[in-house]
Amino acid sequence: MAVILELDNVTKAYDQYKVVDDFSFAVNQGELRCLLGPNGAGKTTTMDLITGRQKATSGTIKFDGRDITGLREDKIAKRGVGRKFQVPAVFKDLTVSDNLRVAFSRQTDPFVNMVRMGRKEGQDRLDEVLELVGLQDRLGELGGNLSHGETQWLEIGMVLTQNPKLLLMDEPTAGMTEQETQKTSEIFNRLKGERSLVVVEHDMAFVREIADVITLMHLGQTLAEGPMEEVENDPRVKEVYLGSEGITDAA
């Protein structure tokens, strides 16, 4: 089983304070890894480090066998890493269809793009994605005019259009209804295998549906790692979540 993402002894420190502390983490190809932990555990920072938004103080990050530590965001993205943000980020003054067209980013050279209309390319993929996220009827609507749920779907759609090998999803079901959450878990389950996913989440029911392996972070380090049942019953985990029902309660 090939390792698609590998973090080796990664530390991110602000002066003396270590947000991520000698953290090591490996995700296999095709796996769906859930990254859990209370606020401040270092989850989002880890995502930032992987995608290049922040620079690690020490340690290495490897993607698909190649070192990506310290690379610029767009270079990492081009290698096949896609990210969905906690607060949905779409292009507000572009239509839904233009949002997706931009997400179809196989060709990123500005001059080549000057001689293309971009209307036909990837149309099949776009149609597929549109149906998947249910925005076929909202094509002409501006990104900024969508409801919160629709914006989430659009961003998911954009990441799907981008078609990366590794998808990093930061709280994808935040603000979603029961139904939408169900739909998301279906999509994720379809994606894994062909692609790899790392999902940061708080909704335990959702995590149960999708996770192959869970990594529980605490104070910038790994507290526990393994399949759900294992982590749930780990005594150290129970100790940290003193008095509560273990991590099942963590929301």
């Binding site: 290049g52 938004r53 922040q54 620079k55």
Partner: protein, 300 residues
Amino acid sequence: MSVHDFWTPFALEPFINALLIGLSIASIWLVAALGLTIIYGTMGVINMAHGEFIMLGAYSAWVMQYFIGIPWLLTLPLSFVIVAFFGWLVERGLIRHLYDRPLDTLLATWGVSLVLIQSIRLIFGGEPQYIDAPSWLKTVMVIDFIHIPWMRIFIFFLAIALVAVTFAILFKTNWGIQIRAVMQNKEMAASFGINSKKIYGLTFAYGAGLAGISGAMFTGLKTIFPDMGLGYVVEAFLVVVTGGGDLLGSVATAGIMGEMFSVFSYFTNDTFGRFVLFILIVIFLRFRPQGIFSPSMARR
């Protein structure tokens, strides 16, 4: 000026004179930028009309002296009050509504600048006006080879006084503490009951007042005309931005800029000196956008 006269060779005495004049220039830029530092540092507002507040201060002083006969020295604090009040009006009427839109604040204040310049032109005409400064300030101090006009010395010390007063207000008074709290963290300050809206209004007024009094001071040096403000706004901004929106930063920047300008101008001339200075600042800002003193925020 021919090509051959471009470069002035080094000579100790005129050079020392240039260094001293540099201090004077620094003090002028500092006091011009002081109000803007407060406004930008506290509120993040980029007030493109700042130069025009300076101009208003100058014209207030002129009107008071010419039409009412108030002595020059007295026009200084009065100009502060007049322009401070005007600034308060501008904040209430316009700036207040644009706090979450910094770019639009920049543009809207440019509109204010335009309106102010042209209104003054309408009322007073475009010809330069002269102010009558007290005779004891019109002479030149001569010590050996050093020639410095007394007015420049006066402005220098007045600038220092204003900076000291501003420091005192910011660090010793209740109001100052509130301003600094809002400067650092608006939301947190609000949870302590600090009404940032009120703070902003008074702060903007204070910053405008500082511009007003500096305008009044400058009447002692040069003639006044409607678009005189334009000559200060770019320099003032560069002082503020390079200084990081921090009072100490502005003092340091103004000092460095003033001296550098004087030295460059000594060797070449005024306009070329300005050109080199601007280029250096642009390069500096590219590598350290947060300014001189702010804690180093490496991008990632």
